[in-house]
């Protein structure tokens, strides 16, 4: 039960991009197309899993005073490995992501989870936390990228992550009616703001409904009690 909660919290309640506002730079920069967002999501997920597991495994031997430099070196090494792997096997994708791939090092999500979770919990819990947080971040990226590419180009084009060849795509909105703004950098900010507002709206509605239900239950209980008298 506890493990399930760690996993679910990472995806929804503590969603890195939309709830905690961590790692916004890559979320805005790499979401102009659906596939580059997917690539970035996978890169972050892989880094998060590796760093969380390694850090959690060695946490007993890291002196508290120098933990930040130790964490940073582990993270930087992991990112270097992933960057090199991507350049070898997914060259087009690594060119598209460019400097943002290296900048995963200073992505607050990675250091944040390492410091807040992996330093205090066992390896299995850290792994679950990494997968949950990573998937949550990836879903956030994909939602943003979907909205931007769909409104900006009228459809979604799927390409192979390994070779960059187009696989399949669809277009629903005709070319004359697409909103090119959302492919630009200003559209990225505006779309992100709109999605944040939408999430706030949904969260407020859910808690309002909960309150109403509780109030109704209370009133019913009171009525029942009075009826009993």
């Amino acid at each position: 039960m506890k493990k399930r909660k760690i996993f679910i919290d990472g995806i929804f309640a503590n969603n890195a991009a939309f709830m905690l506002f961590l790692g916004i730079c890559p979320a805005l920069a790499t979401t102009s197309s659906f596939m580059s967002a997917l690539g970035m999501g996978i890169a972050v997920l892989a880094t998060l899993i590796l760093t969380n597991v390694v850090i959690s495994a060695i946490r007993r031997w890291v002196p508290n005073e120098i933990r930040i430099p130790v964490l940073i070196v582990i993270i930087a090494t992991t990112v270097t490995i992933i960057e090199m792997l991507m350049q070898a096997y997914m060259f087009d994708l690594s060119q598209t992501l460019g400097v943002y791939l290296s900048l995963i090092v200073v992505n607050c999500i990675i250091l944040g989870r390492a410091e807040a979770f992996a330093m205090k919990n066992n390896v299995l819990d850290s792994l679950i936390d990494a997968v949950g947080t990573g998937i949550g971040f990836m879903l956030g990226l994909l939602a943003l990228a979907f909205a931007r590419e769909f409104l900006g180009t009228g459809g979604i084009a799927f390409t192979s992550l390994l070779t960059g060849q187009p696989i399949w795509g669809f277009q629903i909105i005709p070319d004359n009616y697409t909103i090119g703004l959302f492919q630009e950098s200003s559209g990225a900010f505006i779309m992100f703001g709109l999605i944040v507002a939408l999430i706030n709206f949904v969260v407020a509605k859910i808690s309002e409904n909960k309150k109403k239900k509780e109030a109704a239950a209370k009133a019913a209980a009171k009525l029942a009690a009075e009826g009993g008298k």
């Binding site: 730079c25 430099p69 900048l103 090092v105 200073v106 703001g193």
Partner: protein, 196 residues
């Protein structure tokens, strides 16, 4: 003249926040008051310039001769982190007044992507030849820092108005409207494109 063009380019046209989305977390967090925006801006300009100089020197004179360029990420982040720590200790000991005003922003800078991004930018090569010589590199780093500072301060003034606005829809309060505002700011700065 060359530096003037470089400055205009880095501040108005290719602003690092507005066109490359770097350093947005502090923009949303720190810019809620003017005084902290000023403090953060000064700290960023200084750290960006100095860490670019250090990283460039390390890359060109140590990593390249030893053929271990792939270690640049690890070494740069270590340089930045230890430099920030060093500045913090130095200011605390010798310039307590400045330390008091910058103190809390300095540790935050280590994880500001602008610093690492500029350090990675200045060692970029074009077909095996370095893009920046030493002087150009210092200019580029300094003006990029200034560009960051300009937006941070500009946005802090807007943020004060946004926070005090009582007619804001509830769902947009806080980060939602801040992000939309940055989007509009980007559009305004698009007007400078093509100036050079």
């Amino acid at each position: 003249m060359q530096f003037l063009l470089m400055g205009i380019g880095a501040v108005l046209i290719n602003n690092i926040i507005l066109t490359r989305f770097l350093g947005i977390c502090p923009l949303l967090g720190v810019s809620k008051s003017n005084s902290s925006a000023f403090g953060m801006s000064l700290a960023v300009i200084f750290v960006v310039t100095m860490s670019a100089i250090l990283s460039y020197s390390l890359y060109m004179y140590v990593l390249v001769p030893l053929k271990i360029e792939y270690l640049r990420l690890v070494s740069f982040i270590l340089i930045i982190a230890s430099f920030v720590q060093f500045v913090e200790m130095f200011l605390k000991r010798f310039v307590p007044a400045l330390y008091k005003s910058l103190g809390i922003y300095l540790p935050l800078i280590t994880t500001n992507c602008v610093v690492l991004a500029v350090s990675l930018d200045v060692v970029a090569t074009d077909g095996g030849v370095p893009v920046y010589n030493f002087l150009n590199m210092v200019g580029y780093a300094f003006f990029t820092g200034v560009g960051y500072a300009v937006i941070l301060i500009l946005f802090s003034f807007i943020q004060e108005r946004l926070i005090n606005n009582k007619n804001m829809p509830k769902t947009f309060q806080g980060s939602g409207i801040a992000l939309v505002t940055i989007g509009l700011l980007v559009m305004a700065f698009l007007g400078f494109a093509g100036m050079i």
